[in-house]
Amino acid sequence: MQAIDRVLAARSKDRATAAQYIPRLFDDFTELHGDRRYADDQAILAGIARLNGTPVTVVAIEKGEDTKSKVARNFGSAHPEGYRKAIRQFLLAEKFGRPVITLIDTAGAFCGLGAEERGQGQAIAESLMTLSALQTPVLAVLTGEGGSGGALALALADRVWMLENAVYSVISPEGCASILWKDASRTQEAAESLKLTASDLLDMRVIERVIAESNTLDATCETLKAAMVDEISALRALPLNELMSDRYARFRCMGGVLP
């Protein structure tokens, strides 16, 4: 499979959304709404659940399943209030000592008048700062599209995983081709050049693990859940200061420059 095929698979209308993953991975998911500042951004689906018995905070980006819910979810592109909703859940998780699990699938943070007016950049920046020092384990799983800052805002984590056909990139291949080369026909080349597939990112050590996708969603979720259970219990066993310094070091060493 070429990079562009992964991009298309990640965006496929048949691809499962967070609303389908959550009941297969967690029990007793209790959704919690709103950012307490402006609105309840439905592009972010958040709440508390049990992972194999352990209470966890779940923050997911939901694209919507049918036309009506896709519109309500803004096709999985969050506004600033969505990131502020996530931040509120992160802080509650820290307060109550719950690990955080994020499920990420977004073309990117929404680009529009309201989003700019209400500080899209500031909201993402605050989410990054919050996660960087959040005193509880954080595990991020990219399930579909990992669109730039809008995805990263939920992925400053102790472990970052990708499903086999997920992609994660600083810009969409279309955007890259049109901005850099002014040539939309070079999208395929851009997809290749950006190194955005799960195996590319594993090679670059930007992620720790690729989750194989099975023929059925149930089977994929079974694999993912088993891995999550092990990882969360390993992360919880770490002393907090070690967890925090490891998280700092995880991102500190990225970028090809030796300190």
Binding site: G121, G149, V170, L180, L194
Partner: protein, 291 residues
């Protein structure tokens, strides 16, 4: 030698429409620069003497990082750090090597940010200034690394940080590694902040994308230059999304202040005094400059 190129007027810009904002380097325009705001012809030497602001209408033109630091901080006080760090083509991105060479030649700098320490009226601070003439001030691994090292150094030495952002966002040519710099710098800013240290960010024209969504918007005090474009998504991207023209002044510094995202708008002429007072107001009691 670097100096030969140092004060060349930047040739590359964020967007073609902004190109006329900058003094044109071509021969016929060398002596005079047409101000796009008030339409007056300004002697280029007068413009330079006036911190690259129009003497008639105070329009702020692009300003090189090195000149900015030299003009705003005590003379000779700037001690540059990590000046030697240069980018590699980490992911073998087409044409990136050539673009890096062009950017070095055009800007006279090794990368899109200068970092170091300097003083204002004797008050020592860590400082970074982004260079718009280097690939539009885009953030790749070296920019992220230099900013991170600066915040770590400031944390270690108990120094405030003053930053000037000028950026087209994350640098596409380094792929995901550019995106990761947003996480890396954010974590460093947070550590510095949690130690009770001051960070003042001055948002300059333009500050966009991944830089806006990380260290540009994480300061304790956010200043901006008049009329600077400050945004996450650029005006063109939004116009394409919503299929209509944006209102005049949307995403300007003045607009952001109205919406609550900026503390103060400060002209270049007043910037040094503004920073001096802010640094002084954050001095711990009993500690004086030079102690």
């Amino acid at each position: 030698m670097l100096n030969k190129w140092l004060f060349r007027k930047p040739g590359n810009t964020l967007e073609a429409e902004r190109a006329d904002d900058r003094p044109a380097p071509r021969a016929p325009d060398k002596l005079f620069t047409a101000c796009p705001s008030c339409k007056s012809a300004v002697l280029s030497t007068d413009l330079e003497k006036n911190m690259n602001c129009c003497p008639h209408c105070d329009r702020h033109f692009a300003w090189s990082a090195r000149k900015r630091i030299q003009a705003l901080f005590d003379e000779g006080s700037f001690v540059e750090t990590d000046a030697e760090l240069t980018s590699d083509n980490y992911i073998n991105f087409p044409d990136y090597d050539r673009k890096l060479l062009d950017a070095r030649r055009k800007s006279g700098e090794h990368e899109a940010v200068l970092c170091g320490t300097a003083t204002i009226d004797g008050h020592k601070t860590a400082v970074f200034a982004m260079e718009g003439a280097f690939m539009m001030g885009s953030m790749g691994s070296v920019v992220g690394e230099k900013i991170t090292r600066l915040f770590e150094k400031a944390l270690h030495e108990g120094l405030p940080v003053i930053g000037f952002t000028v950026s087209g966002g994350a640098r596409m040519q380094e792929g995901i590694l550019s995106l990761m710099q947003m996480a890396k710098t954010s974590a460093a800013v947070k550590k510095h902040s949690d130690a009770g240290l001051l960070y003042i960010c001055v948002l300059c024209d333009p500050t966009t994308g991944g830089v806006t969504a990380s260290f540009a918007m994480q300061s304790d005090i956010a200043l901006a230059e008049p009329r600077a474009l400050i945004c996450f998504a650029g005006p063109r991207v939004i116009e394409q999304t919503i299929r209509q023209k944006l209102p005049e002044g949307f995403q300007s510094a003045e607009f952001l202040m109205e919406k609550g995202f900026i503390d103060r708008i400060v002209s270049r002429a007043d910037m040094r005094e503004e920073l001096r007072v802010l640094l002084m107001l954050h001095q711990k009691e009993g500690v004086h400059a030079g102690d």
